[in-house]
Amino acid sequence: MKRIAMLSVMFALAVLTGCASKPTPVVPQSPQVAHGCPVGNARVGSVEDLIAAKVQTAGAVENVKVNEIQCTMQNDLLRIDFTLANNATTVRRVAYRFDWIDRNGLKAWNDDSWKPVYLYEQSRQTIVGLAPAATAVDFRLVLLDADKKR
């Protein structure tokens, strides 16, 4: 009798375990992207917002603006295409570099070199940048006025 009672308790336990609802798997939040570029929690509704979030200047850079920016993954490296526009009526020389950021928001790579760009008057130029490693998942584009004497 005692054995039957024990068996029924064990059976009930087994049934209960089987019916227990499985814990909902935690779905990792996919990083927010705009025009293919990672934007984290920033509110990006337009290309202008994206440019404001990604482009910085080292000092004033007059008459030269980034007016398009787009990202894509090339193999497992982040590729950034951006367009520089010279609105001045003279030739302008600027320099740019990327600051690479890792998944934790920390610096992912050594400083890039400044890359000089020659822009004809009233012209645009598309430039392509490629991340140095797969750990560089985000970026800031920094512009510098190379015509200015320092």
Binding site: D111, P116, A133, L144
Partner: protein, 196 residues
């Protein structure tokens, strides 16, 4: 004659003071941005070296030969300097190798320049001083599958007050086994100096 000698006498102390001041002028030393755009002269400079190394590295890392293989083993051969100026081409290849190595996607076998040191160390470990079980063994070195080699050329033109220098750096990756070129890329740089 008298007035001339008088003015000369007056100018002498001024000249002496000016010389003294020039002699006492202190040179100012400041740290600068190692990655900054350097335009002191139009000869090959640090910005050129950094741009070339960065451009070549990124291009090679994105090539099929690197993305499709599991950390291919490479070796670096000389970059020939075909310009008219002295350029330390090893500084360029060292930068390229360091960047590639840091990416973790490529491995480098000992190159011909470092071979003697490698062999000497191997031989040293074969001496009785070392534990035979832990010493590096002869005959276990890994040979490279690919070799990197390149050229740097320049075209220099000068007319009146303008000097124009055009550099072209070319790098290629060759399969040692079958002699096929697996990847190649080049970087062009133009620098113009205008007097005045």
């Amino acid at each position: 004659m008298t007035s001339l000698s008088r003015s000369g006498r007056m100018a002498l102390p001024l000249l002496f003071a000016a010389l003294l001041m020039a002699g006492c002028a202190k040179d100012t030393v400041r740290y600068g941005d190692a990655k900054g755009v350097e335009t002191v002269t139009n000869q090959f400079g640090s910005t050129d070296l950094q741009m070339i190394a960065e451009s070549m590295t990124r291009s090679l890392l994105n090539s099929q030969v690197v993305t499709s293989a599991n950390r291919p083993v490479m070796t670096v051969q000389d970059v020939r300097n075909k310009t008219s100026e002295y350029i330390d081409t090893q500084a360029i290849t060292d930068s390229i190798r360091t960047e590639l190595q840091k990416s973790g996607r490529v491995r480098f076998a000992v190159d011909s320049a470092a071979m003697q040191q490698q062999v000497e160390e191997l031989k040293r470990q074969q001496s009785e001083l070392y534990d035979k079980n832990k010493a590096a063994q002869i005959g276990k070195m890994v040979g490279a599958v690919y070799r990197l080699e390149g050229n740097i050329t320049s075209i220099v033109k000068q007319a009146n007050d303008v000097k124009d220098v055009y550099y072209k750096f070319n790098l290629q990756l060759w399969n040692i086994d079958n002699g096929l070129m697996e990847w190649g890329d080049e970087k062009e740089i133009r620098k113009t100096t205008t007097k005045g």
